[in-house]
């Protein structure tokens, strides 16, 4: 029997395995319990996939959306409701990657001990409802997007996508694109704002960049195909070429650098590749490396060809420039700080910043942006049908630490159309956040 009782110890192997399995499971629960509990099948907190309870406010406590026992109410101000649909969400679950969805775990009030009690929590978003309304009015019904973020923390203060609808009423039409958050989920042809990427690549790979002279005769040819410029700029320094947004100069840089180098820089800067944002991920954008020495390669460095970027990626790039080459990934939570990531050298950031400021001072006109210490880049992206997307991206060098991107779909010229919207929102922000 003693021999037997010694042999019987083998029967303790399985219990020990089960015990360690329990340990593994409990640690997985501690790690992933929040994800599991906030899965939309959890009927303790969702009805038909929509959260029962919880309140989302803006950074100043203005209620943006609140749910209680399955009743949903939204911001009092109509413009805020329209403006915040894509960032905040709609209880019908029409829009992806909204705060309602991204922060469902916080709204649901999950914790390891209590599970999802269904009581609902209040979550303060980083959005400012005043800027939301301001951007909405400035867009004035035109399709496009506005994003403004604090480049020191990553907090997104303004995120508006148009067209939109009133979440309190519901969509009136099923027209295309109502449900897409154009800031994060739409890829646009960048046009000249992409020259920021090419310039960064040139700065890092061409040592004598600043001593060069770029001559623009209105066009340059590769294999007999022309790359046309918007004008005849003559002899220019790189700063002047950037301020003139000279296609000839940047075509030459693009071909000299090569598509692969520009692609790598674009990836490093986050212009291509999905970006983490508020716990979700953005549309990855696109950059195709074209054959060496061809017009497609030249165009790809000017933000045409097959290039696609999201407004968020452009705002984040500007935030990196503003913050010495380090970005804080975007967050929608008030008081939160996004993860830090260096996307370029401090030297490159300083250089790009100086060039962007030069743009405003010598090309765009400081008077068009009163009281703002602005660094920016315009873009007028050709769609090939004669219409253009209007882009305006940049940041405030002093004053409130804000980076931004504005796009108006088929909105005309970058400076006039998008610059106007940006100016309107930045003037408001400068007023609210001047310290």
């Amino acid at each position: 029997m003693n021999k037997l009782s010694r042999r019987a110890l083998i029967a303790l192997v399985l219990p020990l395995l089960v015990l360690s399995g329990l340990g593994i499971f409990l640690s997985r629960l501690a790690l992933h319990g929040r994800e599991w509990a906030t899965y939309s099948a959890n009927e303790h907190i969702y009805t038909a996939g929509v959260l029962h309870s919880g309140t989302l406010t803006d950074r100043n406590g203005v209620v943006l959306a609140t749910a209680s026992g399955g009743d949903y109410t939204y911001a009092d101000e109509e413009a805020v409701r329209f403006a915040s649909l894509h960032a905040v969400g709609d209880h019908r679950g029409n829009v992806d990657l909204t705060a309602m969805e991204l922060y469902a775990d916080k709204l649901a009030g999950y914790d390891l001990i209590e599970g999802t009690s269904g009581a609902g929590e209040t979550v303060a978003l980083s959005l400012d409802s005043r800027l939301q309304a301001g951007a909405w009015y400035a867009l004035n019904g035109r399709p496009g997007a506005v994003v403004v973020m604090n480049y020191k923390t990553g907090e997104i203060l303004c995120m508006v996508s148009s067209p939109s609808y009133d979440p309190a009423v519901g969509p009136r039409t099923s027209a295309d694109g109502y449900y897409i958050n154009r800031v994060t989920s739409a890829g646009y042809i960048p046009g000249s704002v992409f020259k920021l990427v090419t310039l960064a690549a040139a700065r890092e790979h061409i040592p004598d960049l600043e001593s060069r002279v770029f001559t623009c005769d209105g066009s340059v040819e590769y294999y007999g195909e022309p790359v046309n410029c918007t004008g005849v700029h003559g002899e220019q320094t790189i700063e002047q070429a950037f301020a003139n947004s000279c296609n000839v100069a940047f075509a030459k840089l693009a071909v000299e650098l090569g598509g692969q180098t520009i692609y790598e820089t674009a990836r490093k800067l986050g212009v291509v590749g999905a970006l983490p944002y508020a716990g979700g991920a953005t549309n990855p954008g696109r950059f195709d490396v074209a054959a060496r020495g061809t017009t497609p390669e030249a165009w790809s460095g000017i933000g045409q060809y097959n290039d696609l970027v999201t407004p968020y990626a452009m705002a984040r790039l500007c935030a990196g420039v503003a913050n010495g080459g380090v970005v804080r990934e975007g967050t929608l939570l008030a008081g939160d700080k996004g993860r830090e990531k260096r996307i370029m050298d401090a030297d490159t950031a300083e250089y790009l910043g100086a060039c962007m400021n030069y743009n405003v001072v010598y090309s765009y006109g400081k008077n068009n942006f009163p009281y703002l210490d602005l660094c920016a880049k315009t873009g007028t992206a050709e769609l090939g049908d004669g219409t253009t997307h209007a882009w305006f991206v940049g940041y405030l060098r002093s004053g409130p630490p804000l980076a931004f991107a504005v796009i108006l779909e088929q909105g005309g010229g970058g400076l006039i159309a998008a610059g106007g919207v940006a100016n309107h929102v930045l003037q408001l922000a400068n007023g609210y956040y001047a310290s």
Partner: protein, 513 residues
């Protein structure tokens, strides 16, 4: 939900967790005593009576929650829980003076069965009468098994017929069975179904251990062949989970019988080769488990059940959302394959984890029971039974949580299902069959058990004779004489006298406990 109800579920949920933890702690202390060989402590029925009282309290609280959640089913619930409570106290009282040390294995089985009642109450609230009848049948099964095993000399009776019956039942199932989700392991009789493999477990343990007191190489090989047939038939049915349960039990019993590590390694290698062969020849078999580890990638398809199990489990938190308030019960097989998550969601993670811990404790109890069991056959059968329990628990719990492949094996005592409940209670009899209060000798079945001395005064006799068992269970004293034996052929006669002085030494311990 209105705040008063929320508070009700919150407080009762906390009380449930507290009780479950308390019960588990008490059981853990019992097992620690068993591990020390302190049988005196094990045999104090008053202690187990108090634990049973806590178990009953736990059950009353779940009943209360169920009544609040679904007052329309009040009659069925009250009846079900009345039967449950009557059954456990009836069993406790009937066992008095029956020469059984303590009440530990039953205690755990009753706790788990009570949790099973809560599962039935929420998932099939109309079926409480059926559940009660199943429960009574299971208790009868336990009683019959126990009486038979205790009054027969297992070593000489029926291992061959039992083995043949086991193989025959499996073969018949394979031919006549209905296929439910890939496993052809169900037999339909009029409008009810049952799983013969659950009952075959009993036959298997019986056949596998009955002849083992005749320790011979040939008998081990026969047992190996018999096990291969059982496991093979189960695999042919597509019931891979149960096949694995049998296989693990085989490993434990075979090792206990032979003490041969090469045999175990060989068996594992052979099984591994068989699995590899099946997977390469019939890739669709492996496909059934393709979602393993990736359930969140397909939450609407292959991972449907597991994803919901994990979600509901996390939603329940430590104290649960309250019996009858969950949503997982509406998911297919929630009250069987996903039952761990269902219990977590409604009663809380703490009671659910306690269920698993209690089975682990039961396994430890069986392993440490050498000093209380007079026959090696019963000892091995008990170890085999707990191995089956735990193998099922592991596959059930970790399968539903995506740590192991999802095989659809039941959680012992807790999962809804008649054949499972009957099988589990039947196997429990093996844990008790060889236990004796009046064990005077440790041997391999030579020494006949002493009959219960005086039925009228069972408690007193338990305390009074505690010293005797303590000695025989105490490993330091028991080990030496046995170790000198070359084979275990006839140790009983010699070991008994060697131990005689010991009782007096430890007598005081028994009194204190």
């Amino acid at each position: 939900m209105d705040p008063t109800r929320t508070l009700f579920y919150q407080y009762t949920g906390m009380a449930l967790s507290l009780l479950a933890a308390w019960i588990t702690l008490r059981c853990a202390r019992t097992v620690i005593a068993a591990g020390r060989g302190d049988t005196a402590r094990l045999s104090v029925r008053k202690r187990d009576g108090v634990t049973l009282l806590l178990v009953t309290l736990f059950q009353l609280l779940t009943l209360l929650q169920l009544l609040v959640s679904g007052p329309e089913h009040a009659a069925g619930m009250l009846l079900g829980f009345a039967v449950l409570t009557a059954g456990e106290w009836g069993c406790f009282l009937l066992e008095r003076g029956r020469d059984l040390p303590g009440f530990f294995p039953e205690l755990i089985a009753f706790f788990l069965t009570g949790v099973g009642f809560a599962v039935a109450g929420t998932s099939t609230p109309d079926g409480m009468v059926k559940q009660s009848l199943l429960y009574l049948s299971a208790l009868s099964m336990f009683a019959i098994m126990l009486l038979y095993l205790r009054h027969s000399r297992l070593a000489v009776r029926l291992p061959l017929p039992a083995g043949l019956a086991a193989a025959a039942v499996l073969a018949v199932t394979l031919v006549l069975g209905d296929t439910v989700f890939g496993a052809k392991s169900w037999i339909r009789v009029s409008n009810s179904t049952f799983q013969p493999s659950e009952l075959v477990k009993i036959l298997y343990l019986y056949a596998g251990t009955a002849a083992m007191d005749k320790l011979s190489r040939r008998s081990v090989l026969i047992f190996t062949g018999f096990s291969a047939v059982c496991v093979g038939l189960l695999a042919l049915m597509g019931d891979f989970g149960t096949a694995l349960v049998f296989f693990v039990a085989y490993l434990v019993i075979a090792y206990m019988r032979s003490g041969s590590i090469p045999l175990i390694l060989l068996a594992v290698a052979a099984a591994g080769a068989a699995v590899a062969l099946v997977v390469t020849r019939y890739p669709y078999v492996a496909q059934r488990f393709s979602s393993w580890g990736h359930v969140w990638e397909d939450p609407l398809g292959k991972g449907y059940q597991q994803v919901r199990a994990m979600s509901a489990l996390a939603a329940g938190g430590c104290f649960g959302r309250g019996a009858g308030t969950g949503w997982l019960k509406d998911v297919y097989a929630a009250n069987t394959d996903l039952v761990f998550a269902l219990v977590s969601e409604e009663l809380g993670l703490i009671p659910a984890v306690c269920c698993v811990l209690l089975l682990i404790l039961l396994a430890a109890y069986a392993v440490f029971s050498a000093g209380r069991v007079y026959s090696g056959a019963y000892y091995a059968a008990g170890c085999g039974a707990v191995t089956m329990y735990l193998a099922q628990t592991a596959l059930n719990v970790f399968g539903s949580l995506d740590l192991l492949p999802f095989t659809g094996v039941t959680f012992p005592f807790v999962s809804r299902g008649g054949s499972s409940l009957l099988g589990c209670w039947g196997m429990l009899a093996f844990l008790r069959a060889g236990e004796r209060l009046h064990l005077t000798a440790v041997g391999t079945g030579k020494k006949a058990p002493a009959k219960p001395a005086d039925k009228s005064n069972g408690k007193k006799s338990a305390a009074g004779t505690a010293a005797g068992k303590t000695a025989s269970a105490k490993k330091p004293t028991a080990k030496k004489p046995a170790a000198t034996k070359p084979t275990a052929k006839k140790p009983a006669g010699k070991t008994a006298p060697a131990k005689k002085p010991a009782p007096k030494k430890t007598g005081g311990r028994g009194d204190r406990a």
